[in-house]
Structure formats: C-alpha cells, structure tokens
C-alpha cells in the first residue's frame, strides 16, 4: 500500500446498478501496514452503501486512493478529536497516528442513540473517550457541542480535529473560535471524480472556491465561509 495519512479518503466503485453510477467517497477508517489492510466504516444509507453491505469476505472492491489532504500534525499533546455519526470514521486512524507520535488525544463522539454507538472500546485504546447521544440513551444527552467537555474554560486543548455532519462541524468550529482553539474539519461534500477535475465538490473559503477533494477534505475551520453547504 502507498503511504496513507489520516483524513485522506478512497473512492469506491459500486458495480451493477444504474442508480450507483458514480464512485462513493469514504474516509479511511484504519490502515494496518503490517497486515496490508485498509478499513472503511460504512453506514448503510442508500443504494450504494446497501450494495457495499452485501459484500462478502474475499470479494474485491475497486478503489481509487489515497485521495485528498490530511489532518495536520499537532504541535502540542493537547488534542481533541470530535466525530459525529458515520463522521467518526477517520478518528480511529488519526488516534493511532497520534499515538505513534506519543500523543494520547481525547475523543468526543456523538451518535443519535445507543443502538448506533460502536467501537467506543476501540477508541479508548488510543485516548480518553467522551460520549454523547442525542436521546441520552448512552453517555451525555444532547449533541456533542452540549457535552461537558466544552464547558471547561479555558478548553484544555490546543487543537480540535472534527468530522461529521456539516451543522455539527460548524457548531464545533464556532465553539473552538470562541475559545481560541485551532480547529480542523473534514468536509463531506458531494463529489463526482474525487481527484480534482469535475469541480463539483467546491466549498467557499477565504481563497474563493476550493475543491474538497484536493485542497480538502480537511480545512482549517477559520478559513471556511460555511454558507456554500446550505
């Protein structure tokens, strides 16, 4: 496998269906070079992910990877990784990457309810885990932004890395800005190619329209205009 960095993504080809014409982008969930394995975390949402869910061990999957930029390497050890729903995908890989640099990050992960919560024990191998569910069926009740982690003042972090729904990332970015903490977000815009030529996945930044697939998916949250994503 080539060198892959946390935050990068793959484009997956889903065969045999006229309604899954384009590839599907997924964050890379984990890379194990020793075993030559790459993991994706897939939430079944539509036709494409439903087909992927039916794959059996030994089946082959056509991927284009690694694509996009990656999370920065933090300058200090005080790091918070925030994920929501399927957006938690790149955090495991980032946690492992940080551990190899002798950094134990804190994780804050949010899900809609207890039955969607997964892999909390896995995350705890890499750092301390805070958990929120929208309905309070597990961990703190409410969105990740309502988790007591964010009640601390000043926040005991120098950098926040965040991936999840746009509204969640925007809210986390706002808190980070208020508290003076650097924040990077990983955007999940709709894209066709994934390698910079179709110009469909753009987001508005302080430099104008930038491609989420090439200049991103990871952006310094302070550079984003946010309004482009509705």
């Amino acid at each position: 496998m080539p060198v892959i960095l946390p935050g990068q993504f793959v484009q997956v080809l889903v065969h045999n269906s006229p309604s899954t014409f384009l590839r599907r982008p997924f964050s890379i969930h984990f890379v194990d070079y020793a075993r030559n394995t790459l993991k994706l975390l897939v939430q079944v949402k539509g036709e494409g992910t439903r087909h992927m869910g039916m794959l059996a061990p030994g089946d082959t999957l056509n991927l284009v990877y690694p694509l996009g930029n990656s999370f920065s390497v933090p300058a200090s050890h005080k790091v918070l990784l925030v994920g929501g729903g399927a957006g938690v995908a790149p955090l495991m890989f980032m946690g492992d990457f940080l551990n190899q640099k002798s950094i134990r990050p804190d994780f804050l992960v949010g899900f809609r309810s207890a039955d969607e919560v997964s892999q909390v024990e896995e995350y705890s191998k890499y750092g301390k885990v805070y958990l929120s569910t929208d309905d309070g069926s597990m961990g703190e009740k409410g969105f990740v932004t309502q988790n007591p982690v964010f009640n601390q003042s000043p926040l005991p972090y120098d950098r926040i890395y965040c991936c999840g729904p746009d509204a969640m990332m925007h809210a986390v970015a706002n808190i980070a800005a208020e508290k003076g903490v650097a924040c990077e977000v990983s955007l999940e815009n709709y894209m066709a190619c994934g390698y910079g030529v179709c110009l469909c996945c753009i987001t508005q930044t302080d430099k104008g329209n930038e491609r989420v697939c090439i200049e991103g998916p990871v952006f310094d949250a302070a550079r984003l205009k946010w309004q482009s994503n509705g």
Binding site: L13, P18, S19, T20, F21, L22, R23, V64, N189, Y190, M191, A192, C193, G194, Y195, G196, V197, C198, L199, C200, C201, I202, T203, Q204, G208, N209, S228, N229, G230
Partner: protein, 304 residues
C-alpha cells in the same frame, strides 16, 4: 496492431481517443494515473475572458446512468491560463485543444485572439453550448443566426483549426451544424450536455443550486449517436463525437456513426484510467475485424 492515426483538418491525432473539456482539468490531475502521451489529444477546461467563480454548491446530482452538473465555467480567465497553465501543457506529448467560452461575442473573440498566439496549441473548441451560465453560453448555440455570427467573428481572428461544440438542446441539430459551417468552422464537436433537472422528493427542492443543469453519461449516448449520424450525413466537415462513451465499444459506435475522433468525458470520473483502455480496446476491435486502419470505420455504419 492496426493503424490508429487520424488526420482531421490538417491535425494529426495518434489515435482517435481524446478527453472532453471539463472532465479532465488541465491534464495534470491524470499524470499520477498514466502517461498522457497515450492519448490522441486533450480538450482542456473552458477558458473565459476573465475569472469566473462558477455556480454555488451543490453543483452535481447523480442520476440514472449519468449525472447532472452545473459547474458554471469556473476558471481563472485567459490571462491566468496563458501565464500559468499553458507552459505546463506544453510538456504533454499529445494534441492540446483549448475550449473557449464567453458571454458575449467580444469575449469569445478576445479569448480566441489570445489562444491564437500560443505556439503548440493547434486548435480551439468554441463552446457555444454550455447550459450552466445565465448569459451567453448555450444562448449562442441554440439559434442558427447567432451561432453563425459568433463562429464567423472568431473565424476572422483565429488562424488555426476552429472546432465548434454544438448543443443538443435544439430542434434540429443539422440546421445548427450547417449554421456553424457557414460561419467558417473546420470541425464540429457534438454533443454537449442535455439540459436536465433533478428533484429531491423528501425535501421538495431541486438537487442542484441552479435548479437545471447538464446531463451527461451513458444516459445520453443514444441521443448523441443519433445526432452524430444526422450531422455526418448533413455536412462535409469532420466530427468529434462524444456523449456517454464509457468503453471502446461505445467509441467504435460513435466512429461508425460518423465521428473521426471521440472524446471521453464523464467516464473519466468513474475510471481515471479509462481513456488509454479505450485506445487499447479500439486496437483490439480493429484487429479482430481485420481492419487495417481506424479511418476505415468512420461513418461506416451499414444501413441496408
């Protein structure tokens, strides 16, 4: 190994496979995947008179066997192109054709004049068929008189090979083809995207920001083949054919219908390696049918 060389309007293509404007960036993005010298040519992304930010996100909707896009000609303008992009394009060992777009005849003329000065760019493709900009674009390509007018104005200043890309969003494609030939075009490219629309029933909203957009992919191939065939019978100048070509068989079909050269567009988004695979597939087809040259299948459709 069959002879894949194609010569149109005095331009030599080492094979009939080129990549479509807007689907291949400026070529550089594909250098990680293969040697661009394997291609017959590259039609680079539309260049306009000045910077265009393009349309708002979302710009894309996946549709059955295709996609709808509304990028809106995002590019940094002709000055930026000449200064920063053109020098890099010169490294590629293939024909480079620049797609030229605008909102007014003056803008088309201005861009064409600038590109005319660039050594190593043997042709432009005049884009009078973009459905995704408010003013100009497709408006020039759906009325025969204005299509003739813009083509003639560019013809007057552009001294190399002038290709004109036609819109399928017309009642009579042959009438448009003849209008552009009257204006002085050397080559016709067809088809651009079909104007389409996608709706999200749950949110009761359009999927893309501009409500309507350009449909591409295999969904439009039968329309494109029909138009290439009709135009091939109606005019004498060479045709560059495109519209949903995903593989070598599709490419062969366009050549049988009358295309001398083909463009691969949306397929580049699904398989970044598809274009050189199509070159190889055309060669295999010709060998299998004992056809010595790719030129022999142009317009060779058997209709009786």
């Amino acid at each position: 190994m069959a002879d894949l060389n194609i010569n149109i309007a005095g331009m030599q293509f080492k094979n009939p496979v080129t990549t479509a404007s807007g689907c291949f960036g400026y070529g550089e993005e594909f250098r990680d995947f293969y040697d661009l010298g394997l291609l017959g040519g590259i039609f680079v992304k539309a260049v306009t008179g000045s910077n265009r930010d393009g349309n708002k996100y979302p710009r894309m909707a996946e549709t059955p066997s295709g996609m709808l896009n509304s990028v809106g000609l995002q590019n940094k303008g002709v000055d930026h192109f000449c200064e920063f992009i053109y020098p890099r394009l010169r490294e590629f060992n293939t024909q480079i054709i620049v797609n030229v777009s605008g909102s007014t005849i003056e803008e088309y003329v201005k861009v064409a004049e600038r590109i005319n000065e660039l050594e190593g760019i043997p042709a432009i493709e005049l884009n009078i068929s973009c459905p995704n900009v408010k003013e100009g674009g497709m408006a020039f390509g759906v009325v025969p008189s204005t299509a003739t007018e813009v083509t003639r104005a560019v013809r007057d200043v552009y001294k190399k090979v002038l290709m004109v890309k036609l819109s399928p969003n017309v009642t009579s494609i042959t009438e448009m083809a003849k209008a552009v030939v009257d204006g002085g075009a050397d080559v016709l490219t067809l088809i651009n995207t079909l104007l389409g629309m996608a709706i999200n029933a749950e949110t009761q909203r359009p999927v893309i920001s501009t409500i309507t957009g350009g449909l591409s992919g295999p969904a439009i191939k039968p329309v494109a083949l029909r138009m290439v065939w009709q135009v091939f019978k109606a005019v004498k100048i060479p045709i560059v054919g495109l519209g949903g070509i995903m593989n070598a068989t599709d490419a062969i079909e366009f050549m049988l219908a009358g295309a001398s050269v083909i463009q691969v567009g949306t397929a580049n988004f699904i398989d970044p390696m598809v274009a050189p695979k199509i070159v190889e597939g055309i060669n295999e087809y010709l060998d299998r049918h004992n056809i010595a040259s790719a030129r022999e299948i142009i317009g060779a459709l058997k209709v009786c």
